[in-house]
């Protein structure tokens, strides 16, 4: 499977009369966006705004972040099984509006939605302080069920990202990269001397605001399976979750999965990257046993020498992480796990809910309990009234001048567990 990613660099977003892309600027007609979002009967109002890097803007509570992309020269589309026909994606050509993102916000559905600050201390911890963001603050009708609320706002973001992506059809890319994975046996024959590596991606599937969708299927209902890495780049996996803001994978993270990209960088020289095994993180023990058995079985079946395992979320999924690690190591396959830590605000507490001596190679995204101080911003897109209630907040955490003291946990992507950031933690 071969995919050409064609980056069109977006350096600014502005409102305009016509939605179009000109000279690296994305112009957005508010009416276009509004009518698209308002198609959903559950949504009664959408406020559309733009947040650029360096601006004194805070977006909260954030639900998802999506990168606008579009498939060209293909009868398949982004987010198959959700807003495009359910066809296998990952081949052909895809335009990427690099430097832009759609951010969904609005009244809170659960406790686990987060903050994006475009400048200041908080901006250091979220990758989305560096993207030009089109922000949709969606308000649903009162009395809406939490499940419908989540779904409506999720689809609004996806639809708008798709609409914007389509504006790039016909444009010449600024840079092009090609990613290719051969069918397994051919791939192994091509690089017989290189160690074979697969990527085991754990998908959050604990329930409302803790869901992920694979080709439109709720990941709770999958058994582990195999994907070509390029499928991820075309929206095969979509976030429906808001597990603590810091360590959930937004849809943007799935589209730009850095484990996949970094494995491709060493593919053919230091390793032979054979594919992606996806698995879930269900709450029932039987599901945990079944899924971890299957990831180990699939890793063995692929005949790999090593795997990278990435987690999503924390606490309960720590058990899935350790089960995956243990069972794959027991097959004689080397593992490295990527996780994050909850070591208490002082960093003195035991950071994981489960552990095993076989997990001897760990990469950490940092201690999510560490406190950060966020100065007031000139403008808030969304609502500040939940800032003491979202995960990572606490009663009385907003000072009189508006300064917020909060755990890193509340910042979108801060301790990401696919290793998106440079943040880590060490012993002192």
């Amino acid at each position: 499977m071969r995919l050409e990613l064609r980056d069109i660099l977006i350096k600014n977003i502005q409102f305009g009369d016509v939605s179009e892309i000109k000279n690296h600027t994305l112009y957005v007609n508010r009416q276009d966006i509004e009518s698209l979002v308002m198609e959903d009967e559950h949504i009664k109002e959408v406020l559309i705004d733009i947040a650029r890097p360096g601006e004194e803007v805070r977006i909260t509570p954030v639900k998802d972040v999506i990168e606008p992309r579009v498939k060209i020269d293909s009868d398949t589309g982004m987010f198959p099984g959700v807003i495009s026909k359910v066809r296998t994606v990952g081949t052909g050509k895809t335009n990427v509006l690099k430097g832009s993102a759609v951010v969904t916000s609005g009244r809170i559905v659960g406790f686990q939605e987060g903050i994006i600050d475009m400048t200041g201390e908080g901006a250091k911890y979220t990758p989305f302080s560096e993207t030009n963001n089109l922000v949709l603050v969606c308000h649903c009708h009162d009395q809406i069920k939490a499940q419908d609320h989540e779904k409506s706002v999720r689809l609004a973001g996806i639809k708008v990202a798709n609409f914007i992506g389509e504006l790039s059809i016909g444009l010449e890319p600024d840079q092009v990269a090609v990613y290719e994975t051969l069918p397994l046996l051919q791939n192994i024959l091509k690089y017989p001397d290189l160690p074979k590596v697969a990527y085991v991606q754990m998908l959050q599937s604990q329930g409302l605001l803790h869901d992920t969708h694979v080709y439109g299927v709720d990941a709770k209902n999958i058994i582990p399976t195999i994907l070509y890495p390029t499928e991820l780049m075309d929206g095969a996996i979509m976030s429906g979750n808001c597990v603590s803001a810091c360590d959930k994978n937004t849809t943007y993270h799935h589209q730009n999965n850095c484990v996949v990209h970094d494995l491709y960088k060493k593919h053919g020289t230091e390793i032979n990257f054979v594919g992606v095994i996806i698995t879930n993180e269900n709450v029932y023990l039987a599901d945990k046993e079944r899924s971890s058995d299957w990831t180990a079985k699939l890793a063995e079946f692929l005949g790999v020498d090593g795997v990278i395992i990435s987690q999503e979320g924390f606490g309960n999924p720590d058990t899935d992480l350790i089960m995956n690690c243990k069972k794959i190591e027991e097959k004689g396959i080397d593992t490295v796990i990527i996780t994050d830590e909850y070591a208490g605000r002082d960093g003195a507490s035991q950071p994981l809910a489960d552990a095993d001596e076989k997990a001897n190679a760990v990469v950490t995204g940092g201690n999510a309990n560490e406190l950060v101080i966020l100065k007031p911003m000139k403008k808030v897109m969304g609502h500040m009234e939940f800032i003491d209630k979202i995960a990572g907040g606490f009663n009385g955490n907003v000072a009189e001048d508006g300064t917020i003291t909060i755990e890193l946990q509340a910042i979108i992507g801060a301790t990401n567990e696919i290793g998106f950031n440079k943040l880590s933690a060490r012993d002192y």
Binding site: V259, A343, G344, S349, A368, N421, L423
Partner: protein, 349 residues
């Protein structure tokens, strides 16, 4: 600039008073630097002055800890120093415990910055590494010069309130704190590099060494439940509606104790969950799903259990540190025992 004032603590041996036969030497304050203190003074140079040396026998300190501590704290207070240095104790066990205990007491009670130095296997290390900086030394006084150099360097940083770097950079023993920092490469890159090293059987360094878990063995089963007083303790976040104690949705810093004596059944009118780590819909509709008050009331009526304790205890397990959870549990257990509760149903989510 005036020189910083330093008080140095050593044992009877390093003070030249004697060996084991003098280990019961009572605390004594001597003006200026003594024994290894002379080398410390040379290393501090013009920046700091050892104004007094306190000498105490190792046996005396360890066998009369409270008295020794109190006496020495009084002596240190009189000097009002800016820094307190103890040892280094190398691998001398009783000396290490004395150094750690007095240095951490000086820091905690007098607010004076303190440090010591010892060998990794000294029993003082595990007791005091979290409270004070301990420079890592070799296991004998052969390492004195090197130890003093590092202790003085760290001491001066403490005096000037400069940033204390990593254990490797400063030479102190790991204190058991996890602290964030920005690495050179992103996590996925670091993970792949680590995997390549691991597959090649090359040495690699994990970013987090797996802890040893303390597992708790359950007590033997209760034979006669009909005579047993049962309480409910939950990490599922069930609270009276409105969450009166503001228990956090994640990383709880507290737990609540709530009266259920008037309740036969919990409903969405009176209870809800504060927990932010799971779908709260069903717990909010009927909190009995997390803490089964309705069923326990039935069983109470039917005589299958003795009684349900009038209070339940709740916190949110979501992201709550083990240290906090342990502290809550210790308090709750005490309260349960003083209320003659014989069994507890622990529910999690």
């Amino acid at each position: 600039m005036a020189k910083f004032k330093v008080v140095h603590y050593i044992n009877q041996f390093y003070a030249g008073i004697g060996g084991e036969e003098k280990a019961d030497h009572m605390p004594e304050a001597i003006k200026g630097a003594v024994g290894p203190g002379l080398a410390f003074q040379a290393a501090f140079g013009e920046q700091a002055e050892i104004v007094a040396t306190i000498v105490c026998g190792d046996s005396f300190y360890n066998e009369n800890m409270e008295k020794a501590r109190e006496t020495i704290l009084g002596m240190v207070k009189q000097c009002s120093p800016d820094l307190f240095v103890a040892g280094p104790a190398f691998n001398a066990g009783r000396y290490g415990v004395a150094c750690g205990d007095i240095a951490s007491s000086v820091q905690n009670s007098l607010g004076v910055k303190a440090l010591s130095g010892m060998y990794l296997e000294n029993p003082g290390v595990d007791l005091y590494k979290k409270s004070i900086y301990l420079i890592e030394t070799k296991n004998s006084a052969v390492d004195m010069r090197n130890a003093i150099k590092k202790m003085v360097s760290l001491g001066l940083k403490l005096l000037k309130s400069e940033e204390i770097l990593t254990p490797q950079e400063e030479g102190y023993l790991k204190r058991g704190f996890r602290k964030n920092y920005f690495a050179d490469k992103r996590g996925s890159h670091r993970a792949i590099d680590m995997l390549i090293q691991k597959m090649k059987k090359d040495p690699f360094t994990t970013e987090f060494a797996m802890p040893t878990f303390d597992r708790v063995n359950p007590n033997p089963a209760i034979k006669d439940m009909s005579q047993t007083k049962i309480a409910i303790v939950t990490s599922g976040g069930i609270v009276p509606k409105g969450n009166p104690d503001h228990i956090e949705s994640s990383s709880a810093s507290k737990y609540g104790k709530y009266d259920i004596s008037k309740f036969r059944d919990l409903t969405d009118q009176d209870h809800e969950t504060a927990h932010g780590g799971y779908d709260p819909t069903f717990a909010n509709l009927d909190s009995d799903r997390v803490i089964p008050v309705d069923v326990l009331r039935d069983m109470e009526k039917e005589g299958r259990i003795g009684e349900l304790f009038n209070f339940f205890y709740a916190t949110t397990g979501n992201g709550t540190s083990v240290a906090n959870a342990k502290a809550f549990a210790a308090e709750i257990a005490k309260d349960l025992i003083s209320n003659d509760v014989q069994a507890v149903i622990l529910t999690s989510t």
